[in-house]
Structures are given as structure tokens and as C-alpha cells.
């Protein structure tokens, strides 16, 4: 099946070359970081995780979001998702590979990464995160490939694969739950120490993941002559709307607990993220524009998706709406949640984090590598679809 990825028009190759350029730049930047150390990033002993880990956290959600297609199709027999379930599975693969690249980019001693396997430590949430992420990656690769192969031969998929399909559903929930547990089990980090972190992660994941799939489906309709079908898109938009509202509800609850209880520790990070935090006469607010961008994009996205004229009127508005939700939740989780958690520090100081150019280029390169993989996977999936139709 892989040969499908080797045949394409000029636009296909130009797009891959475009992504490949950023991957190459990132590779050089990573080599610099590898030989010099993480001092080339903006991280410090006070903000010890930066944009790598925040991208990782967001992308775990995108990977988990694919289950919003798998679950209705396989559990509720929602036939309209039949054509696009593979898009969700392949998106999960690409996202998880990006996650692993971000983890490797973040490690101080990447060559020792296998120590997590040599000295398995069940009390560390990072150990479990590795287990479920690898598990979900293997499940998606297996299910996606076997089902696509069967489809190509125009046969029913073998019965045994359904065991793994059903297994992948709890795995999708587990990857983001365990990723939330990396944060919400740490004493002394008030913003993260909240039982709603895991549900909130899942809600934003189930909005952001499908939102990206909608955008992809609309692009594929134009460039690859692949129509996901109106019914499938509409159902996905419904899922996105409910999940997005659930996420905002959970954010609102965090605000209520912080500001009504008026406990300083519970408020500080929210103040820092949304209003700026005053400390010894200086106001620290470098993330404020991102957080209001998050709120604004959510409002724009929700309006475009929920208002019938823009949702049904034309694909452009629909695509912009889905993209707004995706970017909104990227700002929320891919920027605010992780970076905000380090403010204030345990010794009540405030250190603001600014990523460096080298760090940003690596980050862009990992995203480019992810979309490179995704393009190839989608090319294969759509090639098979077209072959069947022909």
C-alpha cells in the first residue's frame, strides 16, 4: 500500500518539500541543542518545562480526539463515519509520533531514554504515560493498517481486529487521563492540583481533535477529491460544539473555585494567565494575550459552528470555525496550562518563560514532521479509497 504515497501531483511534492524544509532546519537546530545542551532553550530551574512539553500535552489530546470517530462508528454503528474513521486513526498516529519527538527533544539525556524500560517504576506517572502512549500508537497502526488492507481487497476485516479496535477506545481515554495525571498529582503546584484537569483535558481533546479532522476533511475535499460526506461533518461539528462548551465550563469552574474561595494559591496562576500577576511592584503578564486569544477564538469558533447559516452556508466558514476551536484550545493547553503552572514558583517568586529561536524552530520542525507523516498516511488512505471507487 505504501506505493500510493510515492505517486502524486506537483502540489503533493511541493507540500512535502515545504514541510521537509522545516524538518531539515529543525534537525540542524536539534543537533545544536544536542551538543550544547538545553541551555539553548528558554527554560530555567524555575520554569523547568517549556514549549516542548506543552506541545506534547496538547498533541496527546489531538491523538485521543480520534476516538470521537472510532467510538460512534464501532459502538453505535454510526455508518456515516465509515469513510473517515481512518482519518482519525492516522491522525492519532501522526500526533503520537509528534508527542514522542517532543519528549525526546525535551530530555536532558536522550540516549538514556530507554532507562524508563530498564528500570520500570510503576509509581511514576511518566512510566504509565509511556505505556499507554506506545499502546495507543501500536493499536492505531495495527487497526488502521489491517482495516485499510481489508478495504482495499473489498473484504470484511478479520474478526480478531475488532478486539483491538474496542481496546483502542479505553486506551484513547487513558492516554489523556494519564497525561493529566502527570500534572494533577503534584503537591505544591496549585494550578495543576485539581481533579478537573483530566476531564478538562478530555473535553478540549474531543473538541480539538475532531476540529482538526474537519479542517483536514475540507482540505481533502478540495485537493484530493475525497468527500467525507455532509452527515459525517455535521455530526463531528455537533461533537466539537458540546466538547468545546464542556471545556469552557470546566475552565469556569476553576475560576469559581479560585476566586470564590479566595485562596491565594488557587487564584495566582489564573490571575497570571488572564490578568497579569502583581509581585513586588511589577506586573507579570506575558501570557495574557494568549489566554484572551483563546477566549476570543473560542467565541468566534463556536459562533461559526453553531450558527446554521455559517455552518451550512459554505465550507470556508465551517473550516474557519473548526480551525478557530483548534487554535483556541492549542492556546489553552499548548501554551497556558503547562507554562502557567510554574507561576509562581514554590518559593513565591515569578520567573517568566520566553522560548528561544532555536527552541521555536525545533518546535515548528516537529509539527512539520508530524504533518509530513500525516500527509503520507492520508495519501495512502485516500489512494485506497479512490482505487476501490475506480
Amino acid at each position: 500500500m505504501f506505493e500510493k504515497a510515492l505517486k502524486g501531483n506537483n502540489y503533493y511534492w511541493m507540500w512535502l518539500a515545504f514541510l521537509g524544509f522545516f524538518v531539515a532546519v529543525a534537525a540542524v537546530c536539534y543537533l545544536r541543542q544536542y551538543f550544547t545542551g538545553l541551555t539553548l532553550t528558554g527554560m530555567s530551574r524555575d520554569v523547568s518545562w517549556g514549549i516542548y512539553i506543552s506541545q506534547f500535552t496538547f498533541l496527546v489530546g489531538v491523538a485521543a480526539g480520534g476516538v470521537m470517530l472510532v467510538l460512534p462508528y464501532y459502538i453505535h454503528n454510526f455508518k456515516a463515519f465509515g469513510r473517515i474513521t481512518i482519518l482519525g486513526e492516522f491522525l492519532a498516529i501522526a500526533s503520537l509520533l509528534m508527542c514522542m519527538m517532543f519528549i525526546m527533544a525535551d530530555l536532558g539525556q536522550p540516549l538514556r531514554g530507554l532507562n524508563v524500560l530498564f528500570y520500570p517504576t510503576p509509581n511514576s506517572m511518566l512510566f504509565w504515560d509511556m505505556c499507554v502512549l506506545w499502546g495507543y500508537l501500536i493499536l492505531n497502526a495495527l487497526c488502521g493498517w489491517v482495516i485499510l488492507t481489508a478495504e482495499r481487497k473489498q473484504q470484511h476485516p478479520p474478526k480478531w481486529i475488532y478486539f483491538f479496535v474496542y481496546l483502542s477506545i479505553p486506551f484513547a481515554f487513558s492516554i489523556h487521563t494519564v497525561t493529566a495525571m502527570l500534572y494533577c498529582g503534584l503537591p505544591g503546584r496549585h494550578f495543576w492540583l485539581s481533579a478537573i484537569v483530566a476531564p478538562r483535558f478530555l473535553a478540549s481533546a474531543f473538541a480539538a481533535g475532531p476540529a482538526l479532522i474537519v479542517v483536514m476533511a475540507l482540505i481533502l475535499k478540495r485537493v484530493a477529491n475525497f468527500d467525507a460526506g455532509r452527515e459525517a461533518i455535521n455530526k463531528m461539528v455537533t461533537i466539537i460544539i458540546y466538547a468545546a462548551i464542556a471545556n469552557m465550563f470546566f475552565v469556569g469552574l476553576e475560576f469559581f473555585v479560585g476566586f470564590y474561595s479566595d485562596i491565594p494559591g488557587h487564584k495566582h496562576t489564573l490571575q497570571y494567565l488572564f490578568f497579569g500577576l502583581e509581585h513586588h511592584g511589577h506586573v507579570y503578564n506575558n501570557l495574557v494575550p494568549f489566554m484572551w486569544g483563546f477566549v476570543a477564538l473560542f467565541c468566534v469558533g463556536l459562533t461559526l459552528l453553531a450558527y446554521p447559516a455559517t455552518r451550512k452556508g459554505n465550507d470556508l466558514w465551517l473550516g474557519l470555525g473548526a480551525a478557530s476551536i483548534f487554535f483556541a484550545f492549542w492556546l489553552d493547553k499548548g501554551i497556558g496550562f503547562v507554562l502557567g503552572g510554574f507561576v509562581p514558583t514554590p518559593v513565591d517568586e515569578i520567573v517568566e518563560y520566553y522560548p528561544t529561536a532555536n527552541e521555536l524552530l525545533i518546535t515548528i520542525g516537529v509539527w512539520a514532521a508530524g504533518f509530513f507523516i500525516l500527509t503520507i498516511l492520508y495519501k495512502i488512505a485516500i489512494g485506497v479509497e479512490h482505487e476501490i471507487e475506480a
Binding site: T36, G37, L38, T39, T41, G42, M43, S44, R45, D46, S48, W49, I103, D106, L107, G108, Q109, P110, R112, G113, N115, V116, F118, Y119, T121, N123, S124, M125, L126, F127, M130, L182, Y183, L186, P187, G188, R189, P264, G265, G341, F342, P344, T345, P346, V347, D348, E349
Partner: protein, 277 residues
């Protein structure tokens, strides 16, 4: 050999194996549970001897549990002590000094009361506390969140209660830094080699990409010396190191006679460092 006999032997063999394996597993679980219980009650015995008995836990004083009492009054009387203690520690342990604050590594440092005890805010802080600094460093918690978070057991609790780093196993994920509620850990963002002044050849220099922190001078107390910071304070008794599990130790005497504070005790980490303010 007839079939019945073969089957019998098979079943017997398998059940013996299962039995052996099963008991081994159960033994391990029971042992692990005992160890966990012993360590938690040892902690109780150190920090809260009376609590432990009140809760019915036996105060098992077997083995050592090292701790420290910091007498902040002494640091007030002699303001040069703090600098001496910090310098001694950083010299003995080859702690590098970087020009850029972003790369900073520190094992022990002087800070203000409000920074050391942010959970004890007081608008009308007494003059003594508000005008002076005190040393903070790893608390060597009896229930350490960093050890719980580490995915490779590169940081672990020694049998004497000291939290140790294995610089050769650490993968540099910095989960322990996020987990430490005291900000006690630092990371080697760059190669420390050229930033160590006056190399002490008796202690390893770290490599780039690993986490480090105060080790209660495990390398010194192992050969009967006092920790470097304690030694630097001389006879002032500003810092007193000792065995919390020994009811007759000097540190226990100080804890009995003085009201002491631990940093953020409500988190349940059971710090082994106590402050007389």
C-alpha cells in the same frame, strides 16, 4: 507411559510451578507492604513521635533517619554565616557558577522568610523574620514527591532517609523538578565543566542534562564527617545535623526544647529539616 500418567505428571508439574511462583509473588507483596509500613512509621517516629503513638503506629526507631535543625536566630546574630555555609557546600560539591541566571544551579541558598514559608503569609511579620535571611535546601522528605515522580528511580530514598540522585541513571526529564514543592532541584542546562572553580576531586562533577540537588553530604556523613554547611557554621550551632530516630541525639533535644517550623508541612511530605525562627 500411558496417557493418564502423562497427564497426571503434567498437572502436578504445572501446579507445583504455579504454587512456587504464587508464593514468591505473595512473599514479595507482603515484604513490600512491610517495608512501606516500616518506612512510613519511621518517618512518623522522627518528625512526630507523639503523633505516631497517638495513631497506634509503633515508633520503630531502627536505623537512622538524618535531619537538620536550622537555628535562624544564629544566622541573624552572625550574618556572615549564611554566605559561609552556601560557599562551603558549593565548593565541596563542585556546584558550577554560570554567568546567565537562567542556567543557575544551587544546592543551598539564603532567602527571606516569605520565600521559604509562602504558606505562612503575615502582613505584620515580626522585625526579626522580615529583616533577615535563612538558608533553604532539600528537605529530604520522608514522603518525597520527587522520588514518586521519577520514572527511572534515578532519585531515591536511602535507608537513612537521605534523598540521593544517581547522576548516571537520570534521563533529564525534570519531572522531579515539577514535583518538588520546595524548588530544591536544579538542572544542568549546559556542560558545567568549565564553570566549576577549584575542582574538588573527591566529589564527581556532573554532566550536562541531569538534575542535581543537596545530598545532605551523603559522601561526608558516610565517613563520620558533618555536612559541609554545618561544618562551615563552626561552633555557632546555627545548623545541627543528626539522627532523628535517636531520642538522645542533639537534634532531638533541640526539637524538644524549641518550637520549630517545617516548610509547607500541610503537603504531607514530612520534611526532615526544621527551622527555629
Amino acid at each position: 507411559m500411558d496417557n493418564k500418567r502423562r497427564d497426571f505428571l503434567k498437572v502436578a508439574g504445572i501446579s507445583t510451578l504455579a504454587g512456587l511462583g504464587g508464593t514468591a509473588v505473595i512473599d514479595r507483596i507482603v515484604n513490600a507492604a512491610n517495608v512501606a509500613h516500616a518506612s512510613s512509621s519511621a518517618g512518623q517516629a522522627g518528625g512526630h513521635a507523639t503523633d505516631a503513638t497517638a495513631h497506634g503506629g509503633p515508633p520503630t526507631a531502627s536505623g537512622n533517619r538524618y535531619g537538620m535543625v536550622v537555628d535562624v536566630r544564629k544566622f541573624r546574630q552572625d550574618p556572615s554565616l549564611g554566605e559561609k555555609a552556601v560557599a562551603a557546600c558549593h565548593r565541596v560539591h563542585n556546584v558550577p557558577e554560570f554567568p546567565d541566571k537562567k542556567d543557575e544551579i544551587k544546592w543551598i541558598w539564603m532567602t527571606e522568610f516569605n520565600n521559604a514559608f509562602p504558606e505562612k503569609p503575615n502582613l505584620y511579620l515580626d522585625e526579626a523574620a522580615s529583616n533577615n535571611t535563612l538558608p533553604i535546601f532539600c528537605n529530604h522528605c520522608d514522603n518525597p514527591p520527587c522520588v514518586r515522580a521519577c520514572p527511572t528511580k534515578a532519585t531515591f530514598k536511602n535507608k537513612d532517609g537521605v534523598i540521593i540522585m544517581d547522576y548516571h541513571r537520570c534521563i533529564g526529564c525534570r519531572f522531579c523538578m515539577a514535583a518538588c514543592p520546595y524548588g530544591s532541584r536544579s538542572f544542568n542546562w549546559r556542560n558545567p565543566e568549565e564553570f566549576v572553580k577549584n575542582l574538588n576531586k573527591d566529589f564527581p562533577r556532573r554532566t550536562r542534562g541531569v538534575v542535581e540537588k543537596c545530598n545532605f553530604c551523603a559522601e561526608r556523613i558516610g565517613i563520620g564527617l558533618q555536612p559541609a554547611c554545618v561544618e562551615a557554621c563552626g561552633d555557632s550551632k546555627a545548623m545541627v545535623f543528626g539522627n532523628l530516630n535517636d531520642p538522645h541525639s542533639e537534634i532531638r533535644k533541640l526539637l524538644k526544647e524549641n518550637h520549630t517550623l517545617q516548610r509547607n508541612p500541610s503537603l504531607g511530605t514530612l520534611p526532615s529539616v526544621f527551622y527555629i525562627v
